[in-house]
């Protein structure tokens, strides 16, 4: 492996251009995104760690093969998330039989963001709230779960979510509203049992 220094200051776009001239630079792009994307994949699917890594590896291979197709009008992060999203969807279609659950371990901020936005019961203990949110998310359709994760956990704005999901911004807004509504209804239903 060739060691390439001074890449910390380079933008994603510069690293894309450099990766096209020398493969080793691509490693820096991978390093920048591997943790974020691994968590993203696990959060929206909760497949096993090994399966998530396989999806991630495929994602990076696709990113590399399509580097010349990177649309400079997008943020690189939106583009790479879109490829990860597509890989997850492909994987989801291939393994439809398995129920996909989400994994929110260590995502306290997400719980706080979501419960604050949706005015969930603030009296609840964080641990109980986390279990409730976890159960509700698992009961939701992946398309609603994903927009909630992108909005409240990845903290992406509407434009970024639109670019990641390849849907118009109006559709993203509708999806988020429906997801919030479905979440609130499901939460209230489950909360009675808590």
């Amino acid at each position: 492996m060739v060691i390439i220094d001074n890449c910390q200051d380079k933008t994603d776009e510069e690293l894309v251009a450099l990766s096209l001239t020398k493969q080793d630079y691509f490693l820096y792009l991978i390093k920048r995104y591997e943790q974020k994307l691994l968590y993203y994949i696990k959060r929206i699917t909760n497949i096993s760690h090994e399966d998530a890594e396989d999806i991630l590896q495929e994602t990076f291979i696709k990113v590399y093969l399509n580097l010349n197709g990177f649309d400079q009008s997008l943020k690189f992060s939106s583009w790479i998330y879109r490829i990860a999203h597509n890989e997850v969807i492909d994987n989801f279609r291939k393994n439809k039989s398995g129920r996909e659950n989400t994994n929110l371990n260590g995502d306290d901020n997400f719980i706080k963001n979501l419960s604050s936005d949706l005015n969930l019961n603030k009296e609840l203990d964080l641990k109980i709230l986390k279990t409730a949110v976890h159960n509700v998310l698992n009961a939701m359709n992946i398309k609603y779960r994903e927009v909630l994760i992108l909005k409240f956990l990845e903290e992406k704005d509407y434009k970024e979510i639109s670019d990641i999901l390849a849907k118009p911004m109006g559709t993203v807004a509708t999806l988020i509203n429906r997801a919030k509504k479905q979440f609130r209804e499901e939460f209230e239903r489950l909360n009675i049992k808590l």
Binding site: I30, E34, E50, L56, Q57, I61, S73, A166, K167, P168
Partner: protein, 254 residues
């Protein structure tokens, strides 16, 4: 696989399999192909719109009561269903191709459909003004038998001599005010046009397809009060053939 090793594994795989990024031109080509098909769909939609405008314009709206009894039934009877279907299909083909361009996902279905209809309407008016609507309608009638069948309804409305409506081709000129006409069922008529008003700068010449509003005086004799051009010579000849076919097959009588 350990998290830390994913990057190394990916780079190793890239090198081992000698993977190379797809060339830039392949992405550009794909994008251009989708844009081209979008533009082609838009042009076809515009031409369909030109024909729709042409067909709406040649409808005799002022005679709706006489032709079909009411405005609604005239609309239902003469709506250019075929071209509306063509327009709708190409609007959705245009949507499909625009949606698959690099930035197409940013536009909603409603916005794309509105843009496509708007553009087709503007280009359709231009194409109609250039005479393309008429040319396409005639060419279709000449070459596609099914299309002529769709025009049959329109012609049928004009073969009602008892209600003062007649249409056909001028086959002989006796003098400036009297001529012989063969209607679309090939029935000959002597036309007295002394009192007739000529619409749309129509020329009374042999071979001209015309519509006449007037009164049936006797069998084979018709008093013309107003004469209009048929609008499309090929459509007229195609309708004549269909009338003959239908009369032969069903024993249709006037």
């Amino acid at each position: 696989m350990n998290d830390i090793n994913i990057g190394q594994e990916v780079v190793k795989k890239i090198k081992a399999e000698n993977l190379k990024p797809k060339p830039r031109w392949s992405f550009l080509l794909k994008n251009y192909v989708f844009w081209s098909f979008f533009v082609i769909s838009l042009i076809v939609g515009s031409l369909a719109m030109a024909v729709i405008i042409f067909m709406i314009r040649i409808n005799d709206w002022d005679l709706c009561e006489r032709l079909t009894g009411s405005l609604l039934s005239l609309i239902i009877f003469t709506l250019p269903y075929f071209w509306l279907l063509v327009l709708t299909v190409f609007i959705f083909i245009a949507y499909y191709y625009l949606r698959h361009t690099k930035t197409g996902y940013r536009y909603s279905l409603v916005m794309i459909v509105a843009i496509t209809i708007g553009t087709s309407a503007v280009l359709g008016v231009i194409a109609h003004s250039a005479g393309l609507g008429k040319i396409i309608a005639e060419a279709m009638s000449e070459r596609i038998p099914m299309y002529g069948n769709l025009e049959f309804n329109r012609a049928k409305m004009w073969i009602q001599p008892e209600r003062g409506l007649l249409a056909g081709t001028i086959i002989d000129m006796f003098d400036d005010d009297n001529f012989s006409l063969s209607d679309f069922t090939s029935q000959p008529w002597n036309i007295d046009a002394k009192k007739a008003i000529m619409r749309n700068d129509i020329k009374i010449n042999i071979g001209e397809n015309i519509k006449i509003i007037g009164e049936k005086i006797d069998d084979g004799i018709f008093q013309a009060l107003e004469i209009r051009p048929w609008g499309s010579k090929c459509v007229a000849s195609r309708c004549r053939m269909i009338f003959i076919d239908k009369a032969t097959n069903t024993g249709m009588q006037r």
